[in-house]
């Protein structure tokens, strides 16, 4: 209760001057803290309380719980039973569908992310010119990315590439008879989902456009004066200067792609023959279809490890391919 009184706002103007901060930083033990520090901490604590509560209740707590569940067999009805590493062992040695899920997810990420980034970069370069109606073009190319993650578009995709869908109708008009639904064949099913992902290149494109605007025009001008052609200027000036954003988009898109769910559930439901059984979809089936919560929790931890490894790899290699203008490497 004492602290509450001390946090009286009339003292507040005393608290935040710069001179105060230096000694504060040196203090280590609770006993040595000045009253002012405690007051500051109390005020900050009040502001941070909702977030801290959420962090403990909805993030840290569940993560620890999830780690525990991953070592148990738990069907939500009876109490969790400790099984040690069984879930993890089962994943990699007994569960063929899990390995398939892993394989198709990697395939999806490795195909869709580079394609998406390539398209977004290409369009960003074209749309960062001073073209007439460039704002409209940007909006048009961005809209699919706004809508693409929705259930409605996933349903649309299912029809478009279905047996009687507009793709086969269009092919029919060209004299080619589509005999099969694109979704019912393993190779083309994956293709339709990759297409759906690539179709949404709009948001990385906007990020690239913003980056292109930041590139000082003097660099290009002087290179041009020195006789560098357009392609050369692109590869030697523009592209290196964009690498921080390529890096940023790559991390963002990779993390998102590993967790793709809506399109796989609605367009293909993992089929045919598990050809599009993406990781999160399989996790959903195991956890919320078969109520194998322990197994699903273990799968989630492995996914987290995979995403972290890839993020770390991108970060570690970034020093070799990401360039910062201010000389930082």
């Amino acid at each position: 209760m004492k602290e509450t009184k001390l946090a009286d706002s009339s003292d507040w103007e005393m608290q935040m001057t710069v001179e105060d901060l230096t000694p504060l930083l040196r203090q280590r033990k609770w006993g040595q803290r000045s009253l002012r520090t405690r007051k500051q901490n109390l005020v900050a604590f009040v502001f941070l309380l909702p977030w801290l509560g959420g962090l403990l209740i909805f993030t840290v707590g569940p993560m620890l719980a999830s780690l525990y569940y991953s070592f148990t067999s738990y069907d939500l009805l009876s109490a969790p039973q400790w099984v040690g590493l069984d879930n993890y062992v089962r994943m990699f040695t007994q569960d063929d569908r899990y390995l398939t899920a892993l394989k198709v997810t990697f395939l999806y990420v490795f195909i869709s992310v580079p394609l998406k980034l390539a398209f977004s970069l290409l369009l960003a370069v074209v749309l960062s010119k001073g073209l007439r109606a460039v704002g409209l073009y940007r909006a048009v190319y961005y809209v699919p990315s706004l809508l693409g993650g929705s259930v409605a578009i996933a349903i649309l995709w299912r029809q478009i590439f279905g047996l009687d869908g507009i793709v086969n109708q269009g092919l029919g008009l060209l004299g080619v008879n589509g005999q099969d639904s694109w979704i019912s064949m393993p190779n083309t099913a994956m293709l339709t989902l990759v297409l759906l992902a690539v179709w949404q290149f709009g948001s990385p494109m906007l990020i690239f456009i913003a980056g292109l605007k930041q590139i000082p025009s003097e660099l290009n001008d002087s290179a041009q004066v020195d006789g560098a052609g357009r392609l050369r200027r692109f590869f030697q000036i523009t592209l290196p200067l964009l690498t921080p954003l390529i890096f940023f988009n790559l991390v963002l898109q990779m993390i998102g792609s590993f967790q793709v769910f809506t399109s796989a559930l609605i367009v293909t439901n993992g089929g045919p023959a598990d050809a599009t059984l993406f990781y999160t979809l399989y996790l959903y089936q195991q956890g919320f279809g078969n109520y194998q919560m322990g197994y699903a929790a273990a799968m989630a931890w492995v996914l987290m490890a995979i995403v972290m490894i890839f993020t770390a790899l991108i970060f570690l290699t970034s020093r070799y391919w990401v360039f910062y203008q201010d000389g930082r490497i």
Partner: protein, 297 residues
């Protein structure tokens, strides 16, 4: 050499980076390619709009964009396609979105103010933790959160979708707001403090009004991601009376199968209208939000 000399004279035109020479023909070509590409990009969505006005047999026979027979039956059938009318689902989605927007704006701005303006023990450490939670893949939390909410008896309510947002779980917006608040001059705080403002008044009367653009970005993206969210709504809402539009659409397409695509498309089109409306109204904020922070629209 002469060409280069000519180009040098015209430097202002070739300031921006481009593959193409800045002459008339190549600009026309660029426009043609962009228009064709743009139509191709929009074609699926436009076709869905058109199909929602077509009778079922035409949907499966005509890839064209203009309905030969124009009908509103799809909308009527779709609206009442499930036991509960779609009006309820739209209302549910709006309620969830409104609560998430309010929750995110309040909780994230409180935390952001502390990180941006206050000095306290463990500030750097907590800030690093906050950044770490942004990177956390959401799927890691799904299983334990489901178990938690189930044990609280929160299934089939909006609580699992909204209460966490009042506790700042969308840490990305905290980061966004911290970055913005840091750009507000500290002198404003100082003078307000001399006028007798305490930290809470400072937050509410000075920082919040000045951070309005960033708060608007937070609100817009909270709305968009919640409206577009499917996974958590699918897991927590199993009773038709609490379905959101996304979950209802999925149930609808599974129950009708391919028999009544028109009605499904009609409801799909309606489900996209709020997103498009937000885009049209807040286009500038939205595009800035993505361009500067990488928020997913």
């Amino acid at each position: 050499m002469r060409e280069e000399a000519v180009e040098m004279v015209r430097v202002p035109q070739s300031v921006s980076v481009s593959f193409f020479p800045a002459n008339w023909w190549s600009r026309l070509l660029t426009h043609i390619v962009l228009v064709v590409g743009g139509l191709l990009m929009l074609y699926p969505a436009l076709w869905m709009l058109s199909a929602s006005f077509k009778p079922s047999d035409e949907i499966f026979s005509d890839p064209g964009l203009w309905p030969k027979t124009f009908t509103l039956d799809n909308y009527v059938n779709g609206w009442n396609g499930l036991d509960t009318a779609f009006g309820t689902f739209f209302l549910n989605s709006f309620i969830v979105c409104a609560l998430v927007v309010i929750g995110n704006v309040l909780s994230c701005s409180l935390a952001a103010y502390a990180f941006a303006r206050l000095q306290f023990t463990l500030r750097r450490f907590l800030f690093a933790i906050m950044l770490g939670t942004i990177m956390l893949p959401g799927s890691i939390l799904i299983v334990p959160q489901y178990i938690l909410f189930k044990s609280l008896g929160w299934l089939n309510t909006f609580l699992p979708l909204t209460i966490p947002k009042f506790l700042g779980t969308d840490a990305f917006f905290i980061f966004l707001l911290v970055q913005f608040i840091r750009t507000i001059p500290v002198e404003l705080d100082d003078s307000a403090r001399i006028d007798g403002c305490g930290p809470f008044q400072l937050y509410w009367r000075i920082i919040m009004p000045l951070a309005l653009p960033a708060l608007a970005t937070t609100a817009i993206f909270s709305f968009l991601t919640t409206w577009g969210d499917f996974f958590s709504q699918l897991i927590y809402l199993n009773d038709q009376s609490v379905y959101t539009v996304a979950v209802a659409l999925r149930t609808f397409v599974d129950s009708t199968g391919t028999s009544d695509y028109g009605a499904v498309f009609a409801m799909g089109v309606l489900s996209l209208i709020p997103i498009l409306a937000i885009f049209l109204i807040f286009q500038k904020l939205l595009i800035e939000g993505i361009a500067t922070t990488g928020l997913k629209g």
